[in-house]
Every structure is written in structure tokens, then in C-alpha cells.
């Protein structure tokens, strides 16, 4: 393989860009599946995407991907050029998705450092059959499907021959600028060259090391990309060919004389672009050796003169003298800040951790016991401390905002799942997405993708009835799933609703009874919510038949566990016959939260401030003890179950008398729970850390945090306590 020349960065870019392309591709397919055809924009866009992938993967030497995308490109080329009347759309969408799946799986292999060894020939022949079919239908089978097809991907190396002008040939100077946020501009530039070489009698370009040197992407972005072309075609055809690749901002095509053409050759021979040898290299053969490059920071005298006019342009330029001439062109705008940068997520996590540490360190300083010496004048200290607190809290907000990502990508994946699943099950289902721009912490997004997928599958599989059933019971509307996200008081609510059959309470109760889950309560005692919650228990499935997608009863419990893992809850609502709604209520962020600290027998516990509804000292007569030892407290005529943490966790030296300690009332969803503690310690912003995995899960404890004095406190998980 061409490992020597393909650098890590290029590979990353290739993967990133191809993934984005595929994502677009899938979206186009899924959006258009109901329309029944691709409109012109779609066709062009798919063509462009496949073209990009083809070019990039050919450069990266992934032949299987390249040939496959080439074939799909052919299909769309045909559609674009010949506008065939009746394209079997569903079939085409399936084929496109299969291609996309294939490339995705190959990308996974590449990402894992494996060889991309998948065999695409089967898919290619499927596409071939498809292409033949639509060609036959339009009666244009005799026409060549696409000019690109005539030119196999791997041509024999062609060697540079000094330009000899024939009568019909014209010379062009082509100047291409790319949008500032274009990724892998060098590869794009190469693709432009690639698309021109079909018509070129002779072609040269600068910078000439676009393939071997990933840094040339910046040069191309900064100074534009210059091509000298000798061809018999006219400017319009050239324009057409160049414009087929994405990211181009502007193309200038000027006819010139053969002298200008030769001048370009000389100019390109400056050390700034690569050595002459590279120019002589066959352009179809991307294996230009890196060694042939001369150091980039040698500036020739003649160049220096030109450059002196541009001194003000700063030092970075000094290092990139490539195409100094082009820099004078107005098209290459400089000093224009890029609006986005991509940052390695690890660096973000590190920053996040460090800010977490900073918040703790701040608490350590501001609550330092040394400050508690009586008689100290702390006025100035307090002022500075207030300033510090302000900055750290702003810093926290900033990093939080940085980590916020829209749910769009996650939701788009669901689109595909609905499509695939409903198709396999033969159900006609429509997905509506609302509020996909809602932003959530990246960490949380990662954790909700799986549960969301599961909920969607459940809705498709169990929720919505089959087409026949719907017709039978007279449901005229189409099966529909609504995926909605919205902000709701410091939380994000993501709901999946369907207009299917809803949950059958009797069936659930029946099943719960046979599993012995009802205890000694009568069936009528259970609220709807409690009944629905049964389906979230492990191994609980009322579905009589296990399908590929659901019914095994492992699923809803995992969903709930995942959601609880990020501090969220699952809310189930349902109307029998009308459908059900599952809502995930998830906190906006996990990392830093406000907490209230209280102690029990020397151990500190923290609970998120938003779960605490009140603290109260209660009298003995408000305490109700049941014969079996369970305790309840009466607060303003409401009765709450009481958990004594010291008994619950077997802690020694804790307060026993209800009048000496304090009762903390905690909310969990719509339930309230009273917890008995020794005393309140204080309030602090806490950075949630997981309990080391070495220690097995303790019920009611979801994590730990460091307090202002450096000691560790356990975070109480109200949900976990309620379950007990």
C-alpha cells in the first residue's frame, strides 16, 4: 500500500469526509423515499457525493470503494443526463443505501486499522443490472452510459510530453478558489485535474504536490489552485467538468497563448511548488514520492522581490511561498477568520476535567479553614473571591456551551432505522421529527442514541399495527411515529410517540401477576404509571412472538438503565388503541451540578439541588411506624416514606432520634421520599465522578465527588432509593 505517502491526517480527513458524504446520501434517500423520485438537485448532489468519494478513495487506494462509488456515479450520471422516465425508485433507494452500508462498513475496518477487504463486486453487478434496466426502458441503451465509464480508473501511467500545439487546440489558464471551510482541498484540486485529464492534451497544475503533501490543502485554500490546460474543448466544457466537485467557490477560465502556457511551466518550477520531476510525473499515478519534495522554506531571490510588497501579510506566509503570484489575486482573501475549527474530543474532555478541578480548587481555597480564624479582615479577599467565582462560573458556561451538540445527527439515524425496520415488517410508517436542533451535552448524546433506537424499534414493531390490521379496525391514517425533542426546565425531553395500538394494561397486569410482581396488592391498586413501569423490568415482555427486533424482554430494562445512567428518567404514557408516548427526560449536562451536602454518621452524602424539595425538622408525633418496621412521616398532611440512611447503609455513630436530625424531602419524578440525615453541611457545585468500577454498584449511590475540603462525598441517587 501507499502507506509512505498517505499520512494519518489524510486518512482522518478521508474518513471524516466520506462519512459526511454518506450521511448526506442517506438523508437524501430517506427524504425522497416518500416523494417517489429524486429531483434534479438530489441527483446532482448524489452524483457529486459519489464523485467525491470515488476520487478520494482512489487516491487513498481503496479500490473496492472506488469502483463501487464509480458504478453508482455512473447510474446517477445516466439519470442526470438522460432523465429516464420511470426509475424504480424504491429499488434505487435500496441500492444506494446498500452502497452506503458497504462503504460505511469498509470505513469501520479502516478506522480499526484493518485492511479494507470487502468485496464490492456483487453490489457492482446489482448496479449494472439496474443501470441496464433503466437504459433499456428509456431506449437509450446504445448510448454510452457515461463518459467516465469509458475511462477505467486505473490507467496506465502517461508521461509528460512537451506541449505541441495542434491547430484545434487552445490553451487555458484556470484558477480555482475553494470555500474557506473546505476539507481536503488538495484532494478536491486533484479531482478537478482528474476530471480534466479526459479532455486534456496537456495539463499542468500548481501547487503540484497536492497529492503527496497534505499541507498543500492550506496552500490551495489560501492561494487558490492553478491549472494550465491544453485542449480542444471549449471553456464551457471545462467549467462543467470542474464544477462537478464540491466546495468550489469560484472558477476563472482564461484562454491564453501557448507562450503563457509555457511560462506557467517555468513558474511552476520554483522551489515553492515541487521539483520539476513532479511536474513530469504522470498525473494519473498518484504515487508521487514525498522525498522528491524540496524544503518548502527556501525562497528564491526573484520571489523575494515580489514578496517584499506583501510583507505586511505576516510570518505564516513566509513559510508558504507557494504561488506567491497567486496571492496577489483579489480572489484569495486573507485574514478572513475561519468560523469553525474541529477539535479532538479528547482535548475537550481534558479541558472539561481541568475546569472541573478548577471549580473544586476554588472551593478548597474559598472554604479554607485558615480563613475561619476569628478577627480576620477579609473584605478584600471576599471581593477578589467574588470575582474569581464569577470567572469560573462563566468558564463553566463556556465549556458547557462548547460541548452542546444538536440532536440532529442522532435523529437522522433514526430515520434510517424506521425505514429499514418498517420495510422488513411490511408496515407503512412515516416518521416526523420535531426539534432536532435542540442541543444536548455531547456525552449525553452518546448515551441516549441506543435507548432511542430501541424505543423507535419498539414503536415500529409492537406499537404500530400491520397495514392489514389497521385496515381491519378502521384506522384510516398512516402509521406515524413522532420523534420530538424540547427543552423543559433544565432538562431535555425526547419523546417517541406512535399512533399504534398502545399498551394493553390487562395484558401487562396478567403478565406481572404470573411473574409474581404484584406482591400482595390488589390489581386495582396500581396506577396506570405503575402498570406501564412493569414493562421496564428485566425479562418482561408481553409480546408472544420474538421477532428480529424486539420481544425478548431484554431491552426496555436496558433502555431505562441507560437513561438512568445519565441521570434521566423514562416516562410512559399510553392510550389503548390510540398509541403510546415514551418520553426520556434527561438533564442538559452531567458534569457540574449544584448539590446539597448532608452528613450521616461521619459520611457525607450529596444530592443534586434540584431533587431536594425541602428540609424539615419534625416532631416525634409526625412519625408513623408500621408494625413491619417501615416508617412514614407526615408533613403538612402528606405522608412520605422515610429512609434512615444510617440503617439503610449500616452506618455507625449516627443520630437516631428523629427530633435531633433533619429530614430531607427528595423528589423523584412525581414521587417524594423523606431521607433522615444527621445534619446539613452546605451547598456546593459538585463535579460528578463515577465510582471506580472496581467497586460493585451500591444501590442508591450514583457517583462521588470531591468536596471543598478535599474529602470525598457520595452522590445519592434518588431514583435508586425510590426503587428500593
Amino acid at each position: 500500500m501507499a502507506d509512505d505517502m498517505i499520512t494519518e491526517g489524510m486518512l482522518d480527513m478521508f474518513i471524516f469526509e466520506t462519512e459526511q458524504g454518506l450521511e448526506n446520501l442517506e438523508n437524501i434517500c430517506l427524504d425522497s423515499k416518500d416523494v417517489g423520485e429524486f429531483d434534479e438537485d438530489n441527483v446532482n448532489e448524489i452524483f457529486r457525493i459519489m464523485h467525491t468519494i470515488k476520487g478520494a478513495s482512489a487516491v487513498m487506494m481503496y479500490q473496492n470503494i472506488a469502483t463501487l462509488s464509480h458504478k453508482l456515479e455512473d447510474v446517477f450520471y445516466f439519470i442526470r443526463e438522460n432523465h429516464p422516465e420511470s426509475v424504480p425508485h424504491a429499488e434505487l433507494v435500496d441500492d444506494v443505501l446498500e452502497v452506503s452500508d458497504f462503504i460505511t462498513s469498509e470505513l469501520e475496518k479502516i478506522k480499526d486499522g484493518l485492511e479494507s477487504d470487502g468485496d464490492s463486486s456483487e453490489l457492482i453487478s446489482t448496479l449494472d443490472v439496474f443501470l441496464k434496466k433503466i437504459q433499456k426502458k428509456t431506449g437509450s441503451a446504445t448510448q454510452p452510459a457515461a463518459p467516465v465509464e469509458e475511462r477505467p480508473l486505473q490507467e496506465k501511467p502517461r508521461f509528460y510530453i512537451a506541449p505541441v500545439a495542434s491547430d484545434a487546440s487552445k490553451f487555458y489558464n484556470i484558477y480555482i478558489t475553494y470555500l474557506k471551510d473546505t476539507e481536503m482541498a488538495n484532494i478536491r484540486a486533484y479531482m478537478a485535474v482528474n476530471s480534466l485529464k479526459g479532455i486534456a492534451e496537456d495539463i499542468m497544475f500548481s501547487p503540484s504536490d497536492i497529492i503527496s503533501n497534505p499541507d498543500s490543502a492550506n496552500v490551495v485554500l489560501e492561494f487558490g489552485f492553478k491549472i494550465a490546460l491544453q485542449t480542444t474543448e471549449d471553456a464551457q466544457r471545462i467549467m462543467e467538468l470542474i464544477n462537478s466537485s464540491a466546495g468550489i467557490e469560484n472558477v476563472e477560465i482564461n484562454e491564453c497563448t501557448s507562450d503563457d502556457f509555457l511560462e506557467f511551466c517555468v513558474e511552476a518550477e520554483t522551489p515553492s511548488s515541487s521539483a520539476g520531476e513532479v511536474l513530469m510525473a504522470p498525473i494519473e499515478q498518484p504515487t508521487i514520492r514525498v522525498e522528491s519534495q524540496k524544503p518548502q522554506n527556501i525562497v528564491l531571490d526573484s520571489e523575494e522581490e515580489k514578496r517584499s510588497e506583501e510583507k505586511s501579510e505576516g510570518e505564516t506566509e513566509e513559510k508558504k511561498p507557494a504561488l506567491a503570484r497567486a496571492a496577489k489575486r483579489p480572489a484569495a482573501k486573507k485574514g478572513e477568520a475561519q468560523s469553525f475549527i474541529s477539535v479532538n474530543i479528547k482535548k475537550m474532555d481534558l479541558l472539561m476535567d481541568l475546569i472541573g478541578e478548577l471549580v473544586i480548587a476554588e472551593a478548597v481555597v474559598l472554604q479554607n479553614p485558615d480563613l475561619k480564624v476569628p478577627g480576620l479582615d477579609l473584605t478584600n479577599f471576599q471581593k477578589s473571591a467574588a470575582q474569581l467565582s464569577k470567572i469560573t462560573s462563566e468558564l463553566q458556561d463556556a465549556i458547557m456551551a462548547m460541548r452542546m451538540m444538536p440532536l440532529k445527527n442522532t435523529f437522522q439515524k433514526m430515520n434510517r432505522i424506521v425505514y429499514d425496520t418498517s420495510k422488513k415488517l411490511g408496515k407503512d410508517i412515516e416518521l416526523e421529527v420535531i426539534g432536532e436542533d435542540t442541543e444536548v451535552d455531547k456525552n449525553i448524546i452518546e448515551h441516549i442514541s441506543d435507548p432511542l433506537m430501541h424505543l423507535i424499534r419498539n414503536s415500529v414493531d409492537h406499537g404500530i399495527e400491520s397495514n392489514e390490521k389497521r385496515a381491519q379496525i378502521g384506522k384510516i391514517e398512516k402509521g406515524k411515529i413522532v420523534l420530538e425533542a424540547k427543552n423543559e426546565g433544565g432538562q431535555v425531553w425526547i419523546s417517541v410517540s406512535d399512533n399504534g395500538k398502545g399498551l394493553n394494561k390487562e395484558e401487562i397486569l396478567e403478565k406481572a401477576k404470573s411473574n409474581g410482581l404484584l406482591g400482595n396488592r390488589s390489581e386495582k391498586d396500581f396506577t396506570d404509571k405503575e402498570i406501564y413501569n412493569f414493562i421496564t423490568l428485566p425479562g418482561f415482555s408481553t409480546k408472544k412472538q420474538v421477532t428480529e427486533y424486539s420481544g425478548r424482554g431484554v431491552g426496555m430494562d436496558v433502555v431505562v438503565k441507560n437513561i438512568q445512567g445519565v441521570g434521566g428518567v423514562l416516562d410512559i404514557e399510553s392510550t389503548e388503541g390510540r398509541g403510546s408516548t415514551m418520553t426520556m427526560k434527561i438533564p442538559l449536562t452531567l458534569a457540574i451540578i449544584d448539590g446539597i451536602i448532608f452528613s450521616v454518621g461521619g459520611t457525607n452524602f450529596v444530592t443534586p439541588t434540584n431533587t431536594v424539595s425541602e428540609f424539615i425538622r419534625i416532631d416525634k408525633e409526625k412519625l408513623i411506624v408500621e408494625p413491619d418496621g417501615e416508617e412514614y412521616v407526615m408533613i403538612r398532611d402528606d405522608c412520605y416514606p422515610l429512609i434512615r440512611l444510617n440503617k439503610f447503609y449500616h452506618l455507625k455513630d449516627a443520630v437516631d432520634d428523629i427530633e435531633d436530625g433533619i429530614v430531607v424531602v427528595l423528589n423523584h419524578e412525581d414521587r417524594k421520599l423523606a431521607v433522615f440525615a444527621d445534619k446539613l453541611v452546605g451547598e456546593q457545585e459538585i463535579v460528578v465522578k463515577p465510582i471506580p468500577s472496581y467497586i460493585k454498584q451500591v444501590k442508591g449511590i450514583s457517583g462521588c465527588t470531591q468536596l471543598g475540603d478535599g474529602s470525598i462525598s457520595l452522590i445519592l441517587d434518588t431514583g435508586g432509593l425510590v426503587m428500593v
Binding site: I691, P692, S711, I712, L714
Partner: protein, 171 residues
């Protein structure tokens, strides 16, 4: 058997002539743990107990912002716990990316053993099984015996291989 195979793989990793061991006292014996696992040694600091966990897990400590669990080697070996004093130390070891603190009676020092100086432990009586199953070899130096520990076994819950060991002993 499992001890011997443990030793073989152990030696394969380390291909130098001599391997260094951090030695510490616990009860009346001297134990050694290969220094490649040892991150650092710290004095005892404030420990936050974790309710409902195994008795040998004493709790969590805060090591410069990192929260790590600490276990008491005495209790792990089924010995009587000792009141912590100023000689009590915490050896922070990292095994298979798990960081954990070991509370020991005191630190002795570092000794080197060549491969030939380490002998597998003799077949053990059931009584001593608790502590011996963590020992992969015995090193002798100047007439003193050091019990060399396999930290993997020490930190992993080895209750499930207990039966296995017993069967071997009977054979």
C-alpha cells in the same frame, strides 16, 4: 497449577535478568510486588467509606483529583485488622488500567530477584489458602523469605477460583 502458569506469563513479559520488587510488611510476613505495577507510595489520608461494599474495601481516597479505591491487604488476606499508625502506607498500584491503593503495615524497600531465585510456592495447606493464592513465587534473599504477589489476583475478585484451587490441592 494456576500459580505456576501465572508465573510463566509473568516472566515472559519481563525479559531482564533481574526483576525488582517493592516489599512491604503485613502481619509478620514480607510481601513483594513487582515495581512495574507500582505508581507511588503515599501516606494514609482521609478515606471515605463506601457502604455495602466488601469488608476489605476500606473506601475511596482522593489522589490529586483522581478518586481511587483502597483495600486493606490484611483484611484481604483474612488476617486481623490492625489499627492504622504512622507506619501505615498506601501503595498505589495500577493493574490492567485499574488503579487501586493497598493499605499495608509498612514499607520495607526494594529487592531484586533473578528468575532462578524465585521458586514456586510449596503446595499449601488449606489453612493458609487465603493469603497464599495470591502468591506466585517465593524469593529468598539473605535467608529471608519474601512472598511475591500477583497483583492481578489480589485485586480481582478471586472467590470464583477458590474451588479450583481446592481441587488442585486435593490432588
Amino acid at each position: 497449577m494456576s500459580d505456576i502458569s501465572g508465573m510463566i506469563s509473568f516472566d515472559n513479559i519481563e525479559e531482564v535478568d533481574k526483576e525488582q520488587f517493592m516489599t512491604f510488611t503485613c502481619d509478620n510476613e514480607v510481601y513483594g510486588v513487582s515495581i512495574k505495577y507500582v505508581n507511588e507510595i503515599i501516606g494514609l489520608q482521609q478515606i471515605t467509606a463506601i457502604p455495602e461494599s466488601e469488608d476489605y474495601i476500606i473506601g475511596l481516597i482522593n489522589l490529586r483529583g483522581k478518586i481511587i479505591p483502597v483495600i486493606d491487604v490484611r483484611i484481604r488476606f483474612g488476617k486481623e485488622p490492625l489499627e492504622y499508625n504512622d507506619r501505615t502506607c498506601v501503595i498505589v498500584i495500577e493493574v490492567a488500567s485499574t488503579i487501586i491503593g493497598l493499605i499495608v503495615d509498612g514499607i520495607e524497600g526494594v529487592v531484586s530477584f533473578a528468575e532462578s531465585e524465585v521458586t514456586p510456592p510449596p503446595s499449601v495447606s488449606k489453612l493458609e489458602l487465603q493469603s497464599r493464592k495470591y502468591v506466585f513465587g517465593i524469593g529468598r534473599i539473605d535467608g529471608n523469605v519474601k512472598l511475591l504477589l500477583d497483583p492481578n489476583k489480589l485485586i480481582n475478585d478471586s472467590d470464583e477460583n477458590e474451588e479450583e484451587v481446592e481441587i488442585e490441592v486435593e490432588q
